[in-house]
């Protein structure tokens, strides 16, 4: 790529200078607040109390968001914030998976805080200028570019220049080159010192807009992007009229965190590097296939979403197997999203020729696909052509649209097409037959252009299911049953029907159904290790808390269990990967110098998790009735759906429900199954809420908040109103 702009030509709107501050034991002890409306920057100190209670990352993000907003704040109010927060472990280069930042905001999809974790260089570069978090608040009156120069020590607001590209793969590239070296340097080291947050055109017209975090790939001399994908934070960025946030930092080193024990950080990192290098080929093959290694496994176990999660398997499943992707991924060299991550799962397909849209005929680099994308816009749409998946992956990324929400939403639309709810008249002529990825691509192009059916489709399945019932006379209950969302957020891409624990993993969550908190399908359904409600509840306490901890620290969860010590299976509770948990505890201690044990780790998360629940309550949500799945996520909705797994469902009816299915109509058997499963889910909620220290309505009790050290007056005030 060649350079089209030089930052020096941009119109400067304001500048604030700051003192760079070295990190001490993982913390800067200050945060940066930017008001994009007033174009001002101010520093906020981080108190010891905030550090002790909220730890960092997502904890800091939620604390700042709470303080910056009010109970009546909506996602598009100026006071809504986007907070990017890193955590004490973030940015170390030794331990694989240490480059994550957490982004929080009031979500346009759910109305409650969303938190989304993301790789790329932005978080660590922001941190090493001396910042534990960045708050973006206010609304700009002109298209704005924010530039944080952590080398020179200033923040500048620029007016976005005319002619700047809007699609991410071009925009991030143009801005990286314009800002390199604080003014259009061609030096690769300067290019690598830039990272850009941007949204896309899609976010201008849909609540499912992502934030793209860029990294400059020296080998490709090009831009790669990683997504803070869930919950529509890109839509918030565009609503604030921010075109991009650019950060610059140089000089990342082995001990940029000023660890208490840098040699221990090296030792722990090297141990895991070696484990990955030795075991990955025999285990998950993340280094060669990334998360796409899951495709055939999920299809084999009837868990790969197929036709809007109606089925979990198809004979065509193997057409999207890991070995197909491995062949397509180019550059067989490690592709990580942060320095020192030897798991290096961020694969890409280079030189891919597009078949549709504004870049038709061009050869591009497609970041991915990862599992969720391959499943969401692949099998879930009955698309088994890898080139269709790559095309949708590319355009979702460059338009800034969440591939998961888009996949689940399009699956819903295609099922509505099959059911006759949608017709060519209602889709502006787009054919949404199963497998027609070009129809899906057309929705995406229209969505980016803000025209035709794409605008309606992009509103997401919660809106669409209600709209189709009220406007098109579709069966309201059926629409509700097959619209896969919780709280307004589309479900991610695993079939949860046969695992009650996973239904809880998806829907007993603060932010909506994602795969970040708990993945219990194998433990529950395949290995039957969670036979009782109490066992399920314990897992639905432990795993969400444990996994929340990654987000407090700036860590990626993949190196936790996508590689395991060779002898992991012989240890008790092997599904917790105990040796890795001990690594994390030692890593936290080595960097921060603070003491920690396994219970203390869970306690750090419990505080933040309960604070987030109380935050939902403050915003008028966080009620039990918001934590139920649509029935498609729990069991068979339609007759052909039941009949496709008739033997399984009949057997369950006889053995688990104690009703003989013989002689009963399919409709009756569906009803009996449904009643049983819904009752089971109700019992699950009771057990989980109890284990989490919440009332049966889902409100954290004051006693529990006191016990975990989250009995702040403002939190108690909120929960007491609900008791």
């Amino acid at each position: 790529m060649s350079r089209a702009f030089d930052m020096k030509d941009f119109r400067l709107l304001s500048e604030t200078r700051f003192e760079k501050k070295p990190i001490h034991r993982g913390y800067a002890m200050r945060t940066m607040h930017l008001d994009v409306g007033a174009r001002t920057m101010r520093e906020k100190p981080v108190s010891e109390e905030m550090k002790a209670r909220f730890t960092g990352g997502k904890g800091f993000g939620l604390r700042l968001l709470w303080d910056g907003t009010k109970p009546e704040t909506r996602w598009d109010d100026p006071e809504n914030e986007i907070v990017v927060a890193m955590g004490p472990v973030c940015g170390n280069t030794n331990y694989p998976g240490s480059g994550k930042s957490l982004v929080v905001s009031l979500s346009p999809m759910t109305g409650v805080p969303i938190d989304s974790n993301v790789g790329g260089y932005f978080g660590p570069y922001l941190k090493f200028g001396g910042w534990d978090a960045l708050e973006l608040q206010g609304k700009a009156d002109v298209e704005t570019i924010v530039f944080i120069d952590n080398v020179e020590g200033f923040v500048r607001f620029y007016e976005s220049p005319a002619g700047l590209q809007e699609d991410t793969h071009l925009l991030a590239d143009e801005l990286t080159r314009a800002f390199a070296g604080s003014g259009a340097s061609d030096d690769p080291t300067e290019l690598q010192a830039i990272s850009v947050i941007s949204a896309g055109r899609g976010a201008d017209h849909s609540p499912m807009g992502v934030l793209n975090f860029s990294l400059y790939d020296r080998r490709r001399d090009g831009i790669r992007v990683k997504q803070a994908g869930r919950g529509g934070i890109g839509t918030v960025l565009r609503n604030k009229k921010i075109r991009a946030v650019v950060v610059r930092y140089k000089g990342v080193g082995q001990n940029s965190n000023d660890a208490a024990d840098p040699a221990a950080v090296q030792r722990l990192g090297l141990k895991l590097h070696r484990e990955i290098v030795q075991n990955d080929d025999k285990q998950c093959k993340m280094r060669r296939q990334g998360t796409a290694h899951l495709m055939e496994v999920m299809n084999d176990y009837d868990l790969l979403p197929t036709k809007n999660h109606k089925y979990g398997q198809d004979p065509r499943g193997p057409e999207l197997a890991s070995w197909v992707w491995e062949k397509l991924f180019s550059q067989h060299l490690p592709d990580g999203c942060w320095f020192g991550c030897t798991m290096a799962c961020a694969h890409a397909v280079d030189g891919f020729e597009l078949q549709t849209g504004p870049y038709k005929g061009q050869k591009v680099c497609v970041d991915g696909p990862e599992y969720e994308t391959a499943a969401g816009v692949g099998s879930n749409l009955y698309v088994y052509e890898p080139e269709g998946i790559l095309e949708l992956n590319f355009y979702c990324d460059t338009y800034g649209i969440d591939t998961i929400s888009f996949g689940t939403m399009t699956g819903f639309l295609m099922e509505c097409w099959e059911l006759g709810v949608l017709t060519p008249e209602r889709t502006d002529g787009i054919d949404l037959s199963w497998g027609n990825w070009k129809g899906a691509a057309q929705i995406l192009h229209d969505l980016a252009d803000g025209k035709r059916f794409g605008v309606l489709a992009g509103k997401g399945v919660k809106f669409l299911s209600e709209y189709f019932a009220s406007e098109y006379g579709a069966d309201a209950r059926l629409m509700k049953d097959i619209a896969l969302h919780g709280k307004g957020l589309e479900q991610s891409e695993y079939i949860s029907k046969e695992s009650l624990a996973q239904q809880g993993g998806y829907y007993l969550t603060n932010k909506g159904p994602q795969h970040d908190e708990a993945w219990l399908i194998f433990m529950d359904m395949v290995n039957n290790k969670l036979p009782t409600f109490e066992a399920k509840a314990e897992a639905l306490h432990y795993f969400p808390m444990f996994r929340t901890w990654f987000g407090l620290q700036g860590l990626c969860k993949l190196p936790w269990n996508d590689v395991e010590p060779a002898d992991n299976a012989k240890w008790p509770e092997s599904n917790k990967v105990p040796e890795h948990v001990h690594n994390y505890i030692a890593l936290y201690k080595a960097i921060t110098g603070n003491d920690l044990d396994w219970d203390g780790l869970i306690r750090q998360s419990e505080r933040v998790y309960n604070f987030q629940r109380a935050f939902n309550v403050r915003q008028g949500h966080g009620r039990r009735e918001e934590d139920y799945p649509p029935y498609r996520a729990m069991g068979p909705v339609l007759e052909d759906e039941y009949l496709a797994r008739e033997e399984r469902y009949d057997k369950q009816m006889l053995e688990k429900i104690g009703v003989d299915p013989a002689g009963k109509s399919v409709a009756e058997r569906i009803r009996i199954t449904r009643e049983y499963r819904q009752k089971q889910y109700d019992s699950l909620i009771d057990a989980v809420f109890k284990r989490r220290g919440w009332t049966p309505q889902g409100t954290p009790t004051p006693e529990h908040l006191k016990e975990i050290g989250m009995d702040l007056p403002e939190v108690l005030e909120v929960v007491r109103k609900r008791l």
Partner: protein, 156 residues
């Protein structure tokens, strides 16, 4: 061509002269843990010599910041200004020739300078040359394939 340190362990008597000379030259102290060549005792007066063969290039492929490159003589070198100290190179090195010292920011390795050759009293060491191989070419060919142009540089 690849310039490298050719080692004949059968001539080694374990005197550690090479190790001392190397660590003095690069770390300004006589410390075997900081030497770019290692002499490992195997018992019965036999020794194993460990130093980079300059050919496998796995560290070049692995380095996330491209701080490890190959110079005009075919020698693998680390640019300390670019290195972020992640130690991924140490993990992928199949012979243990890529080393680090606790709490020091960057790893180190043999660059076939010949200091140890001069110090060796038995002629066990020499600086030699060998042809490029599939392994030595791999990282560069992989990049060329993706970039679609030949500007990866550094190859002799």
């Amino acid at each position: 061509m690849i310039k490298y340190l050719k080692m004949d362990a059968s001539k080694c008597v374990g005197c550690m002269s090479c190790v001392s000379a190397c660590s003095q030259a690069y770390a300004k102290e006589d410390n075997p843990a900081k030497a770019r060549i290692q002499v490992l005792g195997l018992g019965s007066g036999r020794f194993q010599l460990v130093a980079c063969d300059q050919e496998c290039r796995r560290c070049v492929a692995e380095c996330p910041v491209q701080a490890i490159s190959v110079n005009k003589q075919g020698v693998v070198t680390i640019d300390k200004r670019l290195c972020v100290g992640c130690l991924a190179c140490v993990a992928v090195c199949p012979t243990g020739a890529m080393r680090y010292y606790p709490a020091e920011p960057t790893p180190f390795k043999c660059v076939a300078c010949g200091v140890c050759v001069k110090a060796c009293p038995t002629g066990a060491l020499e600086i030699a040359e060998k042809e490029d191989s599939d392994a030595s070419r791999f990282p560069f060919e992989a990049i060329e394939a993706v970039r679609g142009r030949d500007d990866t540089g550094g190859q002799s």
